[in-house]
């Protein structure tokens, strides 16, 4: 429903899209803005302490009991190889559903809800290491800056090997 102009102003853009538009939740990890499809989001909640499981990857922060569902929480910053997030009450966990798995992503803050016309999503430029760009499904320009659209499927289905360098590395 929202025209391309409206997508610059999400506050005024409401309602689900026409088949040509998609909505994304954008969030910040460090200084970068990322976005995921809103339809994958199940819930957004403030950071609460997790139950740490033994012998896990370092970006696996543990699990949360979300109304009876045990949800693993991942530190996206760490997943992107930028070190562990020192989580506070102002950090946000985005509960997403990926291929029927429910996982939580720890991000610094949720920025906005973007309504984007599909044609405005730019493909990821070719890079030398195709594996790295597998996480990325596109780039959305918003005003001067750009929001990186993440592919949650690739992010969580791909088993990260020890030898695999982090995405942003």
């Amino acid at each position: 429903m929202a025209d391309p102009q409206d997508q610059q102003n999400p506050e005024t853009t409401a309602g689900p899209s026409s088949p040509a538009t998609r909505q994304f939740i954008s969030f910040r990890v460090g200084d970068e803005e990322f976005a995921i499809d809103i339809m994958a989001v199940r819930e957004i909640k403030g950071w609460t302490a997790t139950t740490v499981l033994p012998n896990q990857q370092n970006y696996m922060l543990g699990v949360l009991n979300l109304r009876g569902t045990i949800v693993p929480i991942f530190d996206l910053r760490c997943r992107f190889g930028r070190g562990l997030t020192q989580a506070t009450a102002t950090h946000v966990v985005i509960i997403v559903s990926v291929d029927d798995r429910i996982v939580g992503l720890l991000v610094d803050a949720v920025s906005d809800i973007l309504t984007v016309n599909a044609v405005d999503i730019r493909p990821v430029p070719d890079m030398e290491q195709t594996v790295d760009s597998a996480f990325l499904s596109g780039i959305i320009p918003v005003g001067e800056s750009m929001v990186v659209l993440l592919s949650l499927e690739n992010l969580f289905n791909q088993t990260p090997s020890a030898g695999l360098p982090a995405i942003a590395a």
């Binding site: 506050e11 409401a14 689900p16 909505q23 809103i38 199940r42 102002t90 946000v92």
Partner: protein, 1113 residues
Amino acid sequence: MSLNSLKLGTKIGLILALMVIPVSLLAWLFISQSTQDAVMARSELSGIDYARGVWQSTISVTRAVGDNRATPATFLQDAPNLAALSATYDDSFKSGAKASSFLAELNRLNWPNASIPADQDVAPLISEASGLMSAIADGSQLTIDPQLDTFYIMTNMMTGQLDLAQHTALLRGSLLKLSVQSNVTPADVGALRAQIALYEDAESSLLANLDAAFRGNADGKLADAMKSSRTAFADAAGHFQSAVLDLVTKLEGGAAPTSLNLSDMQVARAELGSASAALWEDSAVNMARMLNDRISGINARMWQMLAIVGAIFLAAIALGGVIALQTTRGFARVIEVMGKIRNGDFSTEVSGTDRKDEVGQIASAVAVFRDNGLKIAELTANFKGQVDAIHKAQAVIEFGLDGRILDANAHFLNAVGYTLDEVRGQHHQLFVDPVYRQTADYRLFWEKLARGEFDSGQYKRIGKGGKEIWLEASYNPIMGLDGKPYKVVKYATDITAQKMKFADFEGQMAAIHKAQAVIEFTLDGRILDANEHFLNAVGYSLSEIRGQHHSLFVDPSYRQSADYRLFWEKLGRGEFDAGQYKRIGKGGKELWLEASYNPILDVDGKPYKVVKFATDITEQKMKFADYEGQMSAISKAQAVISFSLDGKVIDANENFLSALGYTLGEIRGQHHSMFVDAAYRQSPDYRMFWDKLGRGEYDAGQYKRIGKGGKEIWIQASYNPILDMNGKPFKVVKYATDVTEQVRNAQALQDAVRQSQQVIEAAKENDLTQRIPLEGKSGEIGSMCEGINSLLDTMSSVVAEMMDTATTISNAVAEISSGTTDLSQRTEQQASNLEETAASMEEMAATVKQNADNAQQANQLAASARGVATEGGEVVAKAVNAMSRIEGSSQKISDIISVIDEIAFQTNLLALNAAVEAARAGDAGKGFAVVASEVRSLAQRSSGAAKDIKALIVESGVQVKDGVKLVNDAGSALTEIVGSIKKVADIVSDIASASREQSAGVEEINKAVSQMDEMTQQNSALVEENASATRMLQEQAEDMHRRMSAFTVEEAAPQAARSARPSAPQAKPQAAKAAAPAHRAPVKKVANGGRSPAKMQAELHAAFDSDADWKEF
């Protein structure tokens, strides 16, 4: 005869002999038992012999019955002589009755030579035979045969075969009877059958007995020997039985008895008869063989046993013999050794001690016994030698316990003077004096000896003729082996001579001890004992010195000396030393002892102690030393000459000789008169003088005597007649002092005194010019005169000097007067100055007081400033407090804002979730998405506002912090101000108190100045008095000058210095008189206080300048 009197060999023999009896007895028992068995076997053999006769006769009859042609004799090789057998055995077998009935039966048949009819019933014969056989068996003890085989065979022989023969005969008889009957009844056949059964029983029992015998046979020979006869017999018996059965069967089959052919049966019966006979004979032969074997076996065992027993017995006898031999030999050797020991030969070796048996033990004991014997023998020899020696050396007498004399040796008899016969049997009291004899002591003495107690000592005994004897004796009760005394032996030595000598010595020693100091030492000088005299002399008690060394008594230097060591070595060698010794008593008291050190020799002539006899001669020694000292002193100081009573010179000392100028040779033997002048020599006085001395009277005085060359000498002398021990004078000693000089001096002194008197008289008249002439005056007199002269000289010069001095005093007094005037002036000046000073001080006091007041005010002001500053501090503290409260509030606001921020955050999240839900709801959520978006923007705005407020609050917090810091700075500045003000206040109060003190000080200075004023006034008065005193002084000086002028002083050359003096004293009085008024005027001026204050002032200034004694001033 007792067993003890038998020797050991005999004893052993006896035992062996006695042993033979039981052994023989046992052997006999054994033999008789064995013999009995043999006899029984032989008796059995006899029984068999008898039984054979019986059997043969019987069986011959039965055999003959069946054979009509034959007589029993045909069946007998030799007809047994039954009568002989009966005669031989019936007595022993007690079978006579049976035998006679049997024989009668035989005789009835005309046995053996009559043929027996075929129908002859033989059963009675057989039963008779059977009875006889039983009797034989019993009589020959066959029935009690101990062996199984022989027993069973015997049974067959004695009863079984006869039984069978009986039954055979009965069967044959029955058949013969039937054969002649026309018919047979079943009863007959039944009877026949019963007979057959009996026959079978007999047969089978016979065979069973045979088999039992075979089985019971020990050597197994029996079965072999009798097999054939048994088989034959069994066949024959079977044939007979079958023949009989055949006949019976025929009869039962209904055959006519007459038709029966009995020949088979007859043949079988004959066959059986011969088989039975053969069996019996075989049995008898074997039985005999076995019995003979048994007999020989018994004999063989018996002899074997006897041989063994005999051998053992012989061995036992041989062993007994050997043991007896060994034991007796061992004992014999021991006995031999004992015999030697008994004879005193202890050198024998004891053999057999190595044996382990009793003999060995005895031998060991004998060896010990021999050793002990040897020791005892040695001891005995030793004792015997000693006793002999004692008997040789000492008087020995033996008494019974009741005191009766048993024996005495020659020594004793010699000592008491009796012969042995005289004293033997007498009581000991013969030797004691009658008084002692009666005493209880004497009785106790013997009772004591009788108890076995020993007594020794020195005893006084009476010899023959009442001779008194002293014995050194011991009474020794001699003990028997039971430990009880049985006699008393007394060993005695005649010590009468020694006793006498000892008594003598003892008396002498006691006398010495009474008279002299005695001390005893060991050879090394340790003190053993000392008597009372010695202790008194040295002042020690005995306990103090006992065990001490003699060196205690000598002075330390001597103690260390070689002399002292040699002294004791000499005593140690037994050499004697005597002399006068200096010794040190208790407390260092010095004493002299006239003493002898006597080493006391023991019996061997070796010294063992030293006894010192001493007399305390300290006093004499002292006195002597005193006299000697005095005499030598006199001799040194005085001239001594001794004369005989008639006046001849005996001796003179050096002093005397030098005084008179003679030598001793010149005057010795000369008369005293050579020393007196001729006039006196002739005078009766001189004679009287010597007479007086001759009477022993003493004379003393100053005497004029003439020396060599007529020199006149004065002596101060005493003539002392010396008295001998009888109080008679024997010589005269003159002690003289040469006083010639003194006499001359006395004359010179008289002259000098006279001249001195003259000079002093002149001096009394103020004439100091006279002098004593000094010519011819020497010594003290000269110096005295010279002294008087110089005294006069001194007085002259003193007078001159005094006049001079008086002039000087007058001048000085004049100067003092003018000084006093000056003093007066200066004192006045000082007084006026003091007044000015006092005024200045008043002003100063006022100023100082003002000062003090100001200081006080300043102090108060400082105090109030301090109060204000303190209040300021408190205000600052409150401000700080308020600031901190503001800080607290800011914090709270900050917290609230955080909560708001949190709410905004949560709201944002909720709005996001709402947006997500709306997106997922598709078109249905479109409106909701708008609301969510609005909510999100609200939340973001409120979050922003909260952030702004937070920033403001943080800023205000920083500012509040700055304010707090500033206020704190102000507070600390105020505190410093308070401190400074406090210090100022303190300083001001110090100033105030200092000003007060200053004020008081100035006050005191004021007082001091006014006191100074007063004192200055007093000084003025003193100056006045001073002036008047000066005046008086001037007058007295003049007076003195006048008096001095009265002396006349010699104007000789030595007094030239004083030449001006006589004029000066004369001039002075006028000058003094002229000066006096001049002096008086200034004094008056001083008193009036005219010009003197000015001078005083000047001097005061000088004093101030010198700064010396301001305070004193």
